[in-house]
Subunit: 367 residues, 2 copies
């Protein structure tokens, strides 16, 4: 195995139309993906990483818009937890996204952006597109598939629908279905976007005036759900932002306000509002049990992979109970499963942050 | 004591300018209030109820806009928990509100709506206005003061700043300070309102075109925080709204979406967006310890009342730990305090819903 790190960006145009769960098909689908590390001749060393809602394929390479390091570059790279000296890592932008894979901002057959004429997709549709990518690359069974949050939903969906495609499945801070509360938060975000007059029913690409204010509010609301109450208190508390006393006004007096506003505004520079609508919708529709006749264990009836499920004790977006639900189903399906709830103060975002125990669990499971 | 229920609506114009914590003063302050039951000749039977953020003085009488029963009419009335055959109940709209007390939609000295020229107020300012009302009514010491959520903050503030004015203080589902997470959710709501082009820096009263879309989003986000995850799952789960299958679209497929949209839209018919900004700001500024030198016990140093604090086990907006914090401070100040955490499935909203144990605790404490 080579020790040189290699990172390359590619875009595949799928040769065939992609069938969708809605019954529609999507033509001329493009999948933008990054790879790291060398592929073994027998293709036995491949790790597919699925990204979360607002992430993308730049898992360990600088983001082309923000210039920031890849979102999981702490854990993916030569000698790291997901060791690119050993593994060939693939990460593709989900369809519906806005970083090169076909989504609402892509051009349709007439050369116009799809906008809201893009078909509503599901998590399984996203997986189907990436299985087509694996087919194209001649990859049969992955050494492992890994994903956190929405990426974990894709990992579970792949395990359920394409059981032969992965020997190991790692799901982090995830769930087998979106709860009413999960749907509720997403609906607030969608309504914030759609309430922005610049949204114009999604037709904002021509003049480039996009519904940034609405998207920023959506991001702010979502961001709160990614952090634990205790983490927020520790990080921000009631500390003031660059002032000694409250201003008796509506400026961002508190650090938490300033932080949230920054999160909201900066998000709009790298994310498409319509993509946010479509991807959140796919997540809300996700219910792996319902998709397999109502019983989650049946979703995993054909599973041959080993599973590793990881939750965080302070994650209230996808709390440990949701992971336990998956573990029980895997037990009922007699699938081998490791499950650990890790203690970390950061809430749902723990899966993206420096939690050493997470890295050791993943490293051990990938052996 | 009369057994006839009497309900009357009054508005008091304060004779003096109201000093505010900001250092400003507010002239010509009006306080709109409702009363129920007869006042005893010696004024010994008076219960003051403080309302929550989006509530008002119509605690047990029909709301003049919605026509719905008063927000606590289950518990306030003849023979009820807060028995208006025995007690004279007063509930006043907070200043900053929009149901008759002076707020941003009120006219200033030049006959123009204040809009954002209304001064930023605090919880203590709201209390100060209502103490002026008590002064006007010749009421010295209340039999009890009661409030839930923001109303509980007012009750604690009254106990801290006007300790001689209440013999009993009941705080329900409340806190002595707004946490970073509390501030964060309010900031999302404010940003949603301010992002609405109809907000126009608050100057929307002239043409009556108000920032309803932004206010609805703010209400939706806040509403999620009022309900428990388990309660949402029980009440809505992933049940669909008037359809047998998902629509693969952006309609309100799920009942929770339909419910939230309805909550958002209906709120705009009875609430002023600028009032929402000012009242949430007052709540975010609330930190009873900081107001009294940094130590919460010092806030209650002069307290002579008996206290009753009630929290709910599923309330994640103002969780039991916040109430415990108040109880510990009262203990340190050697104030007599009863504390109970009630089990109820509804989250924060439990204080407004049918929780029989809540009624029996209040009834017992009022004896």
């Amino acid at each position: 195995m080579a020790t040189l790190e290699t990172s390359s960006s590619s875009t595949l145009k799928l040769p065939d139309a992609l069938p969708l769960d809605s019954g529609q098909t999507l033509e001329n689908v493009e999948i933008a993906y990054e790879t790291y590390g060398e592929m073994a001749a027998d293709k036995s060393n491949i790790v597919l990483i699925f990204h979360a809602l607002t992430m993308d394929q730049y898992v360990a390479s600088p983001h082309p818009i923000t210039g920031k390091p890849g979102w999981w570059s702490e854990s993916v790279g030569p000698g790291k937890t997901i060791d690119t000296d050993r593994f060939h890592v693939i990460c593709a932008n989900v369809i519906g996204g806005c970083m090169g894979s076909t989504g609402p901002s892509s051009l349709d057959g007439e050369g116009q952006p799809y906008a809201m004429r893009f078909p509503v997709i599901t998590i399984r549709d996203m997986v189907r597109a990436q299985v087509a990518l694996l087919d194209h690359l001649g990859i049969g069974t992955l050494h492992a598939v890994i994903g956190g949050s929405m990426g974990g939903m894709l990992a579970l969906s792949l395990a359920a629908n394409y059981p032969e495609r992965a020997a190991r499945v790692i799901g982090i801070a995830t769930t087998a279905r979106h709860s009413a509360q999960n749907i509720a938060f997403h609906e607030v975000g969608r309504q914030a976007i759609m309430a922005d007059p610049n949204w114009r029913k999604g037709e904002y690409y021509a003049d480039g005036i996009s519904p940034d204010a609405g998207l920023a509010v959506a991001r702010m609301a979502a961001h709160i759900t990614y952090l634990s109450e205790a983490g927020l208190t520790e990080k921000f508390g009631r500390r003031l932002q660059d002032r000694k006393a409250i201003s008796f006004g509506f400026d961002a007096d508190f650090q938490i306000e300033s932080y949230l506003r920054h999160q909201g505004i900066s998000f709009t520079s790298r994310f498409d509002a319509n993509s946010y609508l479509y991807i959140t919708r796919a997540m809300d529709y996700f219910d792996l049990a319902e998709e397999h006749g109502g019983r989650l264990a049946d979703a995993f009836a054909g599973a041959s992979a080993r599973f590793c499920l990881i939750s965080f004790d302070t994650d209230w977006l996808y709390p440990t109970a949701e992971t336990r639900n998956v573990v029980h189903a895997l037990n009922a399906a007699a699938a081998p499963v490791s499950f650990v709830e890790l203690s970390a103060p950061y809430g749902h975002d723990s899966f993206l942050l420096d939690v050493p125990a997470l890295d050791s669990v993943i490293k051990g499971f990938l052996e």
